[in-house]
Symmetry: C2
Subunit: 284 residues, 2 copies
């Protein structure tokens, strides 16, 4: 079984001693409630490094008022077993009060990239993400860190942060892992009712539709967004938060798709109180 | 002579190899125009570590509109000679375009501590300081970093940042170095006319007055501020930006000084277009 570490200083000493022995560290930051998507990240880290540290921390600073911080699923024993089986050597699960003591005041912010898409709907979310990821980087001292493409904007923001702040860490982005019916794996899928669960794969189908429409010659991004929105409305009870066709690096919405341009097609859909996101990257 | 390194990746590799050889790195971040104050920091770093990296970088992001970024004194050859003599092994002088490439978007901010005193007069200043210091930490990978008490708020902000973001670096704060007449050493002193230079030691005398007044029993902080301001006005042509008697940790202005409380008495005075700061810490 992987070693569980809760204490920040102990984690730091352990990371130092792994590095001192010449081994390479791979980090997989998670909020727990591990599913096959997370485990794919652990396996990738395991292939590329000698010691995988999986972190489990439901980070309060990335949840907004009224979001699901309190009810976010937590099951450390299960996470430990799954993370171990996938190749984790250390599971680091710090306490919120140790990560954010009373006098805490410091935040890392990637400006611009974070006020669109998820950031527009969840103000402050990415400031919480970049802050906690910075802290986890400092504490676990990884050579590489693996993130999932499911959170496409998050990976763009973290890549930018790593470059900008000169973190000496290689960011690896792993493909989305899906259920058999196409629904992207997410810790939030457990919130869905049976009926919502049946409907939710429409999110993935809307991405396949976007790809098909673009490949068949449509260049007007607003037409693509419209087709996706119509499909969601027709085939489900989901409420679309946004549908985006954006430049994959700047995350700016585009009007017309140019050949060679890398596009991030993404959306967020609410089923009742459960909010799901998904995306695909397309280069025409 | 110390090695000059301009390239970020080369500095990083060099820091890695120093660390790999088991040596300890001491960092002294400066904006150049080195004086005896800076050199005292280099000597302290030299005493405590095996390899001192002195950085010289006039950081654009910590200067506001209309401040002295353009005319800030620069003389790398002189800095190299002085830094070497004081015990520097590597002088790291990166280019602004390498530190802040066109797509740069990430900033580190210590909230609360940075909107008073210097931060109130220089909005955005500390955001620039904490950002560049974070970057320099990442690039030079020091075990300890030495800062001067002259920039009292800066040291409080950096200590907070290091704790909050879990930088594995010991922050050492070195005492203010003064000219014979008491004027705190500063790269900006060269801006002073002969007349202003004669008057400027009144800043230090106002701090000595504050100490005397407090030691003789005055507990009303506003009375202390008033006495300091009156002295500056009476003995010089300087314009007082602020006079502060604050809690040394929270930097909040206090009304009454309590026994045992650690006070930061600080002020900023403008002589023509030259703005000077100074401070002292007093525990009653």
């Amino acid at each position: 079984m992987a070693t569980i570490i809760h204490d920040i200083d102990e984690m730091r000493r352990r990371a130092d001693s792994i590095r001192a022995s010449g081994q390479r560290i791979g980090l997989v930051p998670t909020m727990g409630a591990l599913h096959d998507g997370h485990l794919s990240l652990v396996r990738i880290a395991r292939e590329r490094t000698d010691a995988v540290i999986t972190t489990v921390f439901v980070n309060p600073t990335q949840f907004g008022q009224g979001e699901d911080f309190e009810r976010y699923p937590r099951d450390l024993a299960r996470d430990l077993a799954l993370a171990t089986a996938a190749g984790t050597e250390i599971l680091f699960a710090p306490k919120p009060a140790a990560m954010y003591p009373a006098a805490y005041r410091t935040f890392v912010n990637v400006e611009g990239l974070t006020d669109v898409l998820e950031g527009a709907v969840r103000p402050g979310h990415f400031r919480g993400v970049t802050t906690v990821v910075s802290k986890l980087f400092m504490i676990t001292k990884p050579h590489i860190a693996v993130f999932g493409q499911k959170d496409a904007q998050q990976t763009a923001v973290i890549r930018r942060m790593v470059r900008d702040l000169n973190f000496d860490i290689t960011v690896v982005v792993a493909p989305i892992v899906r259920e058999k019916d196409g629904l992207a794996m997410s810790s939030r899928n457990v919130y869905l009712t049976a009926e919502q669960r049946r409907e939710a794969p429409v999110i993935h189908r809307s991405l396949l539709l976007a790809e098909e429409v673009l490949r068949s010659g449509e260049r007007d991004a607003s037409a693509v967004r419209k087709r996706m929105g119509e499909l969601i409305a027709r085939d489900s009870s989901g409420i679309t938060d946004y549908v985006s066709v954006a430049d994959a690096e700047s995350l700016r919405e585009i009007d017309f798709c140019s050949p060679g341009e890398s596009l991030l097609v993404s959306l967020a859909v609410r089923f009742g109180t459960t909010r799901l996101i998904d995306n695909t990257t397309i280069t025409l």
